[in-house]
């Protein structure tokens, strides 16, 4: 009994959990309006990341490439940065933000990103007088960190480039949820509305779930504007919902513009959501309304139907983004699921000291492992060694075959979840998210019971 924290011992990776830094940076870039990130690297670095986004959201997102070739490897990619930026500016008259995102190759080559950006900006100023395009240097070598850090880095760099001065107080609250789904963004907006809080969600990715409209217009991009970013310096506070994805920009706003910074545990599960709402209430002075008490009650009611009847004593393996994995583990304990394996997929050394991990470690009275810098082979190998080790898998679709081949029910959660329809549309955060995830878990278990003919008759009446 008890919790062990280890690190992957193999050098190589078999089936990675996270993509590389530039991928995360691109994800941040598409979350802004009138923005096309420009990836400085080989074309594949863009092409496959765009495909990845399409797999998850069933949407196309615009990301450009500098199309690095051999000549750049030899002579440097300066010209390609400049051409890339200018071609974008020339062909997209509404464009206002371009993140120049570096990759492994261009970091190895050592291209002077800042210098080339300055040059490009001069060109823009000459060619388009009066037009302001923010060109943001984003240093995300693929051989450091992962998509998690890349996301954080791109948000921070964009803020540093655009949020240059303190504006007059706006009365708004900045909420930085980290890398979440449109369903989560909608949920946060709903909570803010119910509380009468004027909140800016950074990044506002609600339209990552975008419509087919009669006028054929396309709205598949973030809603966060240059103005929103500038206005964030006058907010009455910033709230980070993700330690590894959002906290850095909250810190930046605090240090540079004295915007009070707050951090809560990612709001997965009931107690974490309680803490978030209380924190919002504390920051804004707005009380939590009855409507949210009721919404909370409906969620708890739904969870209570499932917890001790179906979830108790079920051992769960969880993988995905670190803030999500930790939050899900906390949620699991609320509903009597036993988190037995947490996989965190990059070499960030701070995880081991994360107070939430420390608290989990102190709390569990069952066998639990936290594996840092893990790949999905860590999960698969444990199951190969002991096929009954886990009763449930929570994670993104990259781990689907572990579940399929080992015949373990799996609820898809996180990014990417390409092998189920519509998941990105629904929240995982908040009371509603906890409820929906529990429903999804239960229904995965129920379906499993039917397919393997294991007490499926119990579902006739419960």
């Amino acid at each position: 009994m008890g919790c062990e924290i280890t690190t992957r011992e193999r050098a190589g990776v078999i089936n990675p959990m996270y993509d590389c830094q530039p991928a995360g940076a691109q994800y941040a870039g598409i979350g802004m309006k009138d923005c096309i990130p420009l990836v400085h690297g080989g074309q594949g670095c863009t092409m496959f990341v765009r495909l990845l986004f399409a797999q998850h959201f069933k949407e196309n997102f615009d990301v450009a490439s500098t199309s690095l070739h051999e000549d750049s490897a030899v002579f440097g990619g300066h010209k390609r940065i400049q051409d890339g930026v200018l071609t974008l500016v020339r062909r997209y008259p509404d464009l206002r933000i371009i993140q120049v995102i570096t990759t492994c190759s261009t970091e190895v080559i050592g291209d002077d990103i800042e210098g080339n950006i300055r040059y490009a900006e001069e060109q823009i100023a000459k060619e388009f007088p009066g037009r302001k395009v923010y060109v943001v240097p984003v240093h995300t070598p693929s051989f450091k960190n992962s998509q998690v850090g890349g996301y954080s880095e791109c948000v921070l760099s964009t803020w540093k480039t655009i949020a240059k001065e303190k504006v007059a107080p706006t009365g708004k609250l900045n909420i930085f949820p980290g890398w979440v789904n449109p369903g989560d963004v909608q949920l946060l907006k709903h909570y803010a509305k119910e509380m009468g809080v004027d909140a800016s969600i950074f990044l506002d990715t609600q339209d990552f779930d975008s419509p087919m409209l009669p006028d054929k217009s396309i709205h598949t991009h973030g809603r966060t504007t240059v103005e929103d970013i500038r206005a964030s310096t006058g907010a009455l506070g910033s709230l980070s919902l993700a330690r590894y994805e959002a906290a850095s920009t909250v810190d930046f706003l605090k240090k540079e513009f004295d915007v009070p910074g707050h951090t809560v545990s990612s709001p997965y599960g009931i107690a974490n959501t309680d803490a978030m709402l209380r924190k919002i209430s504390e920051i804004t002075g707005k009380p939590i309304p009855l409507s949210l008490v009721e919404e909370r009650g409906v969620a708890i009611d739904a969870l209570q139907d499932l917890a001790h009847m179906f979830f108790a004593n079920k051992r769960v393996a969880i993988f995905g983004h670190p803030d999500l994995v930790i939050g899900l583990a906390e949620f699991c304990i609320e509903v009597e699921l036993e988190p037995a394996l947490l996989l965190l997929g990059d070499d960030n050394t701070r995880y081991k000291k994360d107070p939430r991990i420390v608290a989990l470690k102190e709390r569990v009275n069952w066998d639990m492992e936290v594996v840092c810098n893990a790949d999905l082979w860590e999960l698969e190998r444990r199951i190969k060694d002991d096929p009954k080790k886990y009763d449930l898998i929570l994670g993104h679709s990259k781990g689907r075959y572990v579940a399929i081949d080992a015949n373990i029910p799996m609820a898809r959660v996180g990014f990417p979840t390409f092998d189920r329809a519509g998941l990105y549309r629904h929240p995982t955060m908040g009371y509603r998210g906890a409820m929906l995830l529990a429903e999804q878990i239960a229904n995965a278990m129920f379906t499993h019971m039917e397919y393997v003919r294991d007490r499926e008759w119990i579902l006739n009446t419960w």
Binding site: D19, N60, H69, A73, S105, V108, F143, D347
Partner: protein, 472 residues
């Protein structure tokens, strides 16, 4: 003026050389679009990189081979779960990727040790697997890791394994096409001829440039079985590493995708004297012609005719049902390269469909020669089309369906245009007779989707009218 400068390309006028509109009466040979050239940065092209051309398109298809990617994690992550090439041994090839997960220290101090460790680990963790491809990527190529030396060392220490190395980093060449070339040439030079096949038929061939998309290879294999032809190696659909080492023993190389695999067929001819026979496997007429050519080569024409007759009896009626309902529909093809010429005439002949625009990601001059020869007048032929061009072309030709990838499919969906997956298929296989009925069916279902009509309705539109009526 058959070369076209689109409105959206005013700022990049060099794009005029890449877009051709075929016009009656002009000699199209004078107007071949420039192809296989470097992409203009920032254009939102559809191209991938050389590494993916090698790993994702060709090597990763093999069903018994570890694909070790020597580089940072993204190159592995990104070339996983993006393809639809099943195998008959449980899709090992689609379930796993391997990476040396290069970190900064390895960039600084070199990654060969890490590669060696990763290779050994991979073989240790998967003891049933004895074959491996190792790929360089951009940074490991830039720092000059000697992957061949590492592979050699491991092979010495583990005599039961065999490793092939492929050095085509993402920045090599202008597109994935470079990766095809590197892998083809490397394989023929290093691996073909190192193993002898068991010959079980008087008629032997390699089937080259077919990657078993949704079971293409497996469907065609039923034809070869019925014809009594032994396929020594499938390059690379549902294939094995060792089969590919035996390619030198085939009497004939049948090539479907010349772009990805013509190189190896040419080398096999050069080095071993094996004749190359190009066929089209998509479309009824083409498939029948291909079977006839192969059977003629072996002198088993009557077997071929019997097969064709049986297949026509089984599938032609179904094809015609769809043809009747697809007649005159306008299609665009935005895929890699060769499918443009494989499909443009086959959908015209077999389904009555008019192909109105085609864009190739990585086609070369010979591909455009072929596609323009086979294509219609009034059709746009585009090299390396980009997003704004796509919008403009759609406006110009108003296609009813676009054969392209899922992401671009999602994009054109907003314009109320359905797509069919031109890379991985919707519900394949699409090769062979049965396969082309599948293609017809998917096209029919795409075009006749009632949602398209619903999408075009603005439910507010007739409000004024209704209020008026209500008031009366």
């Amino acid at each position: 003026m058959p070369m076209v400068l689109l409105e959206c390309d005013k700022a990049i006028p060099e794009r005029e050389q890449h877009i051709y509109l075929k016009v009656e009466g002009e000699d199209s040979r004078d107007y071949l679009p420039v192809s296989n050239a470097s992409t203009i940065p920032g254009t939102l092209s559809e191209r991938g990189c050389a590494f993916c051309g090698a790993k994702l398109v060709i090597g990763g298809v093999l069903k018994d081979t570890i694909q070790m990617i020597h580089g940072p994690i993204g190159c592995a992550y990104d070339t996983w779960h993006t393809k639809r090439y099943p195998t008959d041994n449980g899709h090992f090839n689609m379930k796993y990727v391997w990476s040396t997960d290069m970190k900064e220290s390895h960039i600084v101090f070199g990654g060969e040790k890490r590669l060696e460790k990763s290779i050994n680990e991979a073989f240790d963790e998967m003891p049933d697997i004895k074959r491996m491809f190792v790929y360089t990527t951009c940074p490991t190529a830039l720092i000059g890791d000697d992957i061949k030396a590492v592979a050699k060392k491991v092979m010495q220490e583990r005599p039961d394994v065999d490793i092939f190395t492929c050095e085509c980093p993402g920045f090599a060449g202008v597109s994935q096409s470079k990766g095809h070339h590197v892998l083809n040439i490397g394989w023929i030079n290093e691996k073909v001829g190192t193993l002898e096949p068991e010959i079980t038929s008087d008629y032997t061939m390699n089937f080259i440039g077919d990657f078993n998309i949704q079971g293409d290879t497996q469907l065609l294999q039923t034809y070869w079985d019925r014809l009594g032809i032994q396929v020594i190696a499938h390059f690379t659909g549902n294939g094995t590493y060792d089969d590919l080492r035996c390619m030198h023993r085939a009497q004939l190389n049948v090539v479907n995708c010349a772009r990805s695999s013509g190189y190896i067929a040419n080398e096999l001819k050069k080095q071993y004297g094996i004749p190359r026979l190009d066929i089209d496997s998509w479309g009824f007429s083409y498939m029948a012609e291909g079977i006839r050519k192969i059977c003629a080569f072996f002198g088993i024409e009557e077997r071929g005719e019997k097969l064709i007759e049986e297949e026509y009896a089984k599938w032609k009626g179904k094809l015609d049902w769809y043809k009747e309902r697809l007649q005159g529909k306008k299609m665009a093809i935005w895929t890699g390269g060769p499918r443009l010429w494989h499909w443009t005439k086959s959908v015209e002949d077999d389904l009555g469909i008019q192909v109105v625009a085609m864009s190739s990601k990585f086609g070369h001059q010979e591909d455009f020669e072929k596609v323009i020869a086979r294509g219609q007048n009034g059709t746009y032929y585009i090299d390396d089309g980009n997003e704004l061009e796509f919008f403009e072309i759609i406006d110009l030709v108003k296609p009813d369906v676009i054969f392209t990838g899922p992401r671009v499919g999602e994009l054109v969906k907003k314009l109320h245009i359905p797509y069919v997956n031109g890379h991985g298929y919707h519900n394949g296989p699409y090769m062979g007779f049965e396969g082309f009925v599948n293609l017809a069916r998917d096209t029919y279902n795409a075009v006749h989707n009632p949602l398209l009509k619903l999408a075009a309705t603005d439910i507010r539109d007739d409000q004024a009218v209704r209020f008026l009526e209500a008031a009366e």
